[in-house]
């Protein structure tokens, strides 16, 4: 596009990209995205939301139906995958089974005609970087899942790509290993200063690893923001529901005055909310409150908080926290999380209590 903002800082750019496989429906709808050099960006979203498709378009294995994808200011739409110089880690690793680990790593260097001695040095270095220095002679089938993962990572990095794409690289690992590898990948990416586009459907992974997270749904980016912003200020109901745990109360906007929305809940109660995604009175809305922002201890309720009646349905002891399920304004799934502190009250099922929160913590979003 002619009028693309020339921003020397932008490294990867999607400009109004659309993609359709069948000519009937759009899998990616009008996607625009700009990434600075060195950023760790995660595409997070439910399965089928178009994340892999975006990654494949960036890597060159799928062509955009409309729009431009640019790398370092140059449109790459017509550059074949092998000339893009983008490193890629596949979900099932795609390590070549007939080559040893070292041969796998040497492959991208060989096709770049790098001399043998230099090649060997680079392979060694890359293997050491992922702590697999002793495994060069093994076949991929002789490695555990986590080890294969490391090798796949090393292979994507060994030819010094500036941009590395990872499509659910930790999907096949168990929880503990996954957490360890998250840390490891993040560390390596930081050390090398590479730009990473990371795809996952695991929100914890996205939040802990990324500089910014793009939440995908239905072929669109629902919100693109740093993890804290995403969690604390979700822009719509989908993001609020998808990221972290969330309580929803449904109602109708009565009025919006001075940046505060008055919402009448479906049981008739009126509460003040932060109007994020509502604009005019009469609109239906979903009010979102994070479980840890709800307080039932009168002494701790902050100034300006308002209260609602609630009935305790269930108390679950989870070690570090208590999780209490309440009925609030007709919603049986209202969760409150409290820290397991010495003075913390353990609520009995059946008890009638008052709960409250700050109006700024409760966000009126789209219905």
């Amino acid at each position: 596009m002619a009028e693309t903002k020339i921003d020397s800082n932008v490294f990867v750019q999607f400009d109004r990209v659309q993609k359709s496989y069948d000519g009937v429906s759009l899998v990616v709808k009008d996607l625009s995205l700009a990434m600075p050099r060195g950023e760790f960006l995660t595409m997070l979203g439910p399965s089928g939301s178009g994340k892999t498709t975006c990654l494949m378009m960036l890597a060159g294995f799928e062509t955009a139906t409309y729009g431009d994808i640019m790398l370092d200011g140059i449109s790459i739409n017509n550059i074949p995958p092998h000339k893009r110089g983008i490193g890629m880690v596949f979900q099932n690793y795609a390590l070549f089974p007939h080559m040893t680990v070292a041969e796998n790593l040497a492959f991208p260097l060989e096709v770049r005609k790098i001399p043998k001695t230099e090649r060997e040095a680079k392979v060694k270095l890359a293997l050491e970087m992922v702590q697999m220095g002793d495994f060069g002679g093994r076949r991929p089938a002789q490695l555990s899942g986590g080890q294969q993962q490391r090798v796949a990572l090393a292979r994507a990095l060994v030819f010094e790509a500036e941009l590395v794409l990872m499509d659910e690289p930790l999907g096949a690992l168990d929880k503990q290993l996954r957490e360890h590898m998250q840390f490891e990948i993040k560390r390596i990416a930081n050390n090398l200063g590479i730009t990473v586009v990371y795809v996952t459907h695991d929100q914890t992974e996205a939040l802990t690893m990324s500089d910014r997270v793009a939440v995908f749904d239905d072929g669109r980016i629902q919100q693109l923001a740093p993890p804290d912003e995403l969690y604390e200020s979700p822009q719509n109901s989908f993001v609020a529901q998808f990221i972290g745990e969330n309580n929803t109360l449904e109602g109708v906007v009565k009025e919006i005055v001075n940046g505060v929305a008055l919402v009448q809940l479906d049981d008739g109660k009126l509460i003040d909310c932060n109007p994020v995604n509502v604009s005019k009175p009469g609109e239906r809305t979903r009010v979102s409150i994070r479980p840890e922002r709800v307080e039932f201890n009168k002494d701790r309720l902050q100034e300006g908080a308002h209260t609602l009646k609630a009935e305790v349905l269930e108390f679950i002891y989870m070690g570090d926290i208590f999780r209490t399920r309440l009925r609030v304004a007709g919603n049986d799934d209202f969760i409150v999380k409290t820290r397991n502190a010495p003075d913390q009250v353990r609520l009995e099922p059946g008890a009638q209590i008052d709960i409250g929160w700050l109006p700024s913590d409760c966000r009126a979003l789209d219905a």
């Binding site: 890597a59 060159g60 294995f61 074949p80 995958p81 092998h82 000339k83 893009r84 110089g85 983008i86 490193g87 890629m88 596949f90 099932n92 795609a94 070549f96 089974p97 007939h98 492959f107 991208p108 096709v111 770049r112 292979r155 994507a156 030819f159």
Partner: protein, 424 residues
């Protein structure tokens, strides 16, 4: 129970030692399984193992001479065949008596036929001699030496006696020697005269042409298998039907069709002439020679190459090619370095299958091969059906069998049979 559980053998519920009752249960299972496959085992034994054993046996068996002419064979033992002298009177007497008995039992033609393989003319010699010998009466007609030579002058030549002596043992390596263009003589194995040496040539031709057929099958089958594995399901199914179509038509019909296609006035020559690629006077000879055999057999064996390749290719996920390209490989490098090596097991399986089928093929070379395109199996059929030399046929077949086993073994050593995949 008060028994110390650590030292006492474990008992099952009815008080038997656990090991014993487990063994009994397993044995019952095994017997039941065996009974289920018993008909198959019996069938395999009768229809497969026994014919092979009997064939192997026939290739060395040689009872007929010793059985029919027992006294002669016994007397010949003390005769030195290499001295160049005719045997003494006792041998002639023994022969006369043997032939008389054989003629009465009508066994003389068989032994004549047997020795005729080794020296032509022996069959008629035996017939003629038997006719006369029937009328002779024991010692009254002695001496027999002159009498026999009178009946047929061959009895006065040393060759017939040498042949008799050399081929009198109950087991013989003669058929195997014949099968490799050699023969047994009094002074040990010797090559056949030049003009009779055809079998080694045939073996070589069978081997070389089978390799060529295997090669053309690989070249033609690989792209087809690749298409099968990579086309969308609907088109792949259609293609698969086309690949399997030959199996639904008679082999004879397909081979005959090639005759129509390839002959000098056939479709292909007509086309080439019309296109001006070949002069009308110089129409290509593509049938009744090696070309005909190679073309027709490649066509017939192609599915056996495509199917194993396809089943291997089907299991290779497309992400490998994508990974290779993302690492900087061109389409060709990605194919050659990443895809192709993974399909080698399929090529191996197809090649073994095609090669082994080709090496023993009979009908197609017989129909389209002419004289230059026939295989060793055609010679085996000729020995068994026409010249009735079953021993030679069996020896040729045994060599073929051993050759295939040796090749299989070599392949296993080099490539490893575990690396061969017929199915995913």
């Amino acid at each position: 129970m008060s028994v110390n559980p650590a030292t006492a053998p474990l008992l099952s519920a009815d008080g038997m030692p656990l090991k014993k009752s487990l063994g009994r249960a397993l044995r019952r299972q095994k017997i039941r399984a065996l009974m289920l496959i018993a008909p198959l085992l019996l069938f395999v034994f009768v229809a497969f193992i026994m014919p092979i054993v009997s064939m192997l046996f026939r290739s060395v068996e040689n009872d007929i001479v010793a059985d029919t002419l027992p006294q002669t064979v016994l007397e010949l033992q003390s005769w030195d065949a290499e001295l160049g002298e005719l045997p003494p009177e006792v041998v002639y007497a023994a022969l006369a008596s043997d032939i008389k008995i054989a003629a009465k039992a009508r066994k003389h033609t068989k032994v004549g036929l047997r020795l005729n393989y080794e020296q032509s003319g022996v069959a008629s010699l035996f017939k003629k001699t038997a006719r006369k010998a029937k009328k002779w009466d024991g010692d009254a007609d002695a001496p027999f030496k002159e009498k026999l030579i009178e009946v047929h002058k061959s009895w006065g030549e040393i060759e017939i006696w040498q042949t008799l002596k050399v081929h009198s043992s109950n087991y013989t390596s003669g058929y195997f020697l014949n099968a490799i263009d050699m023969r047994k003589t009094v002074s040990g194995p010797e090559f056949q005269p030049e003009e009779k040496q055809v079998l080694i040539l045939l073996f070589k031709r069978t081997l070389v042409m089978s390799l060529i057929i295997m090669g053309t099958c690989i070249l033609l089958g690989y792209p087809v298998a690749w298409l099968l594995a990579n086309l969308p399901a609907r088109q792949a199914n259609l293609l698969m039907i086309l690949v399997l179509l030959p199996f639904w038509t008679s082999l004879l019909v397909r081979t005959s069709a090639w005759k129509v296609m390839l002959q000098q006035q056939g479709v292909i020559n007509d086309l080439l002439v019309q296109l001006g690629l070949v002069a009308d006077s110089a129409r290509l000879v593509m049938i009744n020679n090696e070309t005909g055999t190679i073309v027709a057999m490649t066509h017939i064996l192609l599915p056996f190459m495509i199917l194993p390749m396809y089943s291997v290719m089907q299991t290779i996920p497309p992400t490998y090619l994508r990974a290779a390209k993302s690492l900087g490989a061109t389409n060709w490098t990605a194919f050659w370095r990443v895809y192709f090596p993974q399909t080698v097991p399929g090529i191996g399986a197809g090649s073994i299958l095609v090669f082994i089928l080709a090496i023993g093929y009979y009908i197609t070379p017989e129909i389209v091969g002419g004289s230059k395109g026939v295989f060793i199996s055609n010679r085996i059929a000729y020995s068994i059906l026409k010249s009735l030399n079953w021993g030679l046929g069996a020896a040729l077949a045994s060599i073929l069998l051993v050759a295939v086993l040796v090749l299989y073994w070599t392949y296993d050593k080099i490539v490893g049979i575990d690396n061969v995949k017929l199915g995913g």
